[in-house]
Symmetry: C2
Subunit: 203 residues, 2 copies
DNA sequence: CGAGCGATTGAACCAGGTCAAACGGGGTGG
DNA sequence: CCACCCCGTTTGACCTGGTTCAATCGCTCG
């Protein structure tokens, strides 16, 4: 699973190997051509182009979700896709064709994810941030439990809060011990920090 | 296209005729069994059951979108569905089977709708309410342009505002002439009111 | 008629937004 | 190596848009 930069994705031939992206890397632009993927690890952020040409947050894809299935229909990606956390994508459909059940499952997953995202924009700021962190927790349970947090800017746009508010909520969580207080690497490096799920849901 | 009450939907045999629902009528409960539909007119609201058992707004389905495709996969509806405006549903798939393209198209529509809903929860209160009203405008252009507004409670839950705020925004729009000032029937009657799209986007 | 419910409006409050300043680490150029 | 800048983050102080609470209205239905 080689690391790539976004340019590598603009390949003409159908990919056969999984691709890895680092936190913040572009996966594809809206309107670009390419092939569909399935998220095998991490979280992908979608942005849509508004009528005024601005890009705005449109959704998330998590482990098992499809990315860009619409290219099979329309030949172009509908949204910009970015790696919210470092993530791994595998070509879809792999060796199996797109059978009815895979597509139905993808549809059900998409609706579930949409409901998750809507929930991230309901309720008080602290609750939203906590729910987002929970979503970002790795699917495979690990000890100690660690989460790779996206830049505050992303967390703010996803929760419809401001970076300042998100920062204050994270400070609060650290004060309560729900989050590891240590600052982490900046840049593209992994920014995992230990999380206490109990204290998170309590907050 | 006969009017029905929600009980009628709990039929065991696959439906062959379109069904109509009035504003506010239940279409199906989360976890119920039934068959998938396609919205041919109006707007449907989905609610999901949270971990604590509470129901909360999860999404919308508009003209052309599928409702409850997941029953083909899991045998049960994932969400509660309610008629946000009076609407017409037709059995899906109709005489055509669920071919690859229909499913892909449904997937693309679902993602588009999810992005719409997310956008309804961004920005200032007035902008959210205006965007929601635009979404509720009938797809087929009519003169004069009329929209059937859901109860304020629904509009509030969809936009993540309070009923009081929504009411104030609607009052503002009426004052500006973007909305017909006349009060409309309550209850299940149609509650259409004239809308000026220009004044709406200006507000 | 009275109960009940959705809608409306006013007044007070506050959670979160806004603005501003400062920090800290990484990268770059001298 | 250091100086400098850039950018993401943090924190404080203030302000406001939206929430909250409460009262009222209008319509429907029993």
């Amino acid at each position: 699973m080689p690391l790539t930069d976004s340019a590598t994705v603009m390949i003409a031939a159908e990919p056969t190997m999984p691709l890895c992206f680092l936190r913040g890397q572009r996966i594809h632009e809206a309107g670009a051509m390419g092939f569909p993927w399935r998220v095998s690890r991490g979280v992908v952020r979608f942005d849509t182009t508004e009528i005024d040409g601005e890009l705005s947050f449109a959704g998330l894809a998590m482990e098992g979700d499809l990315v860009g299935a619409e290219v099979l229909m329309f030949g172009r990606f509908a949204h910009r896709a970015t790696a919210l956390t470092s993530c791994q994508l595998e070509p879809w459909p792999g060796r199996m064709g797109q059978d009815r059940d895979s597509l139905l499952q993808a549809l059900a997953r998409a609706e579930q994810r949409a409901a998750d995202v809507v929930a991230l924009r309901s309720g008080q700021a602290m609750a939203r941030v906590c729910r987002l962190i929970e979503l970002l927790l790795p699917r495979a349970a690990t000890t100690p439990l660690k989460a790779e947090l996206p830049p505050l800017r992303d967390m703010a746009e996803i929760t419809a809060l401001t970076v300042e508010t998100v920062s204050r909520m994270l400070s609060g969580l650290r004060r309560q011990g729900a989050l590891e207080p240590d600052r982490e690497r900046r840049g593209n490096g992994s920014k995992s920090c230990r999380v206490s799920r109990e204290l998170l849901v309590a907050a």
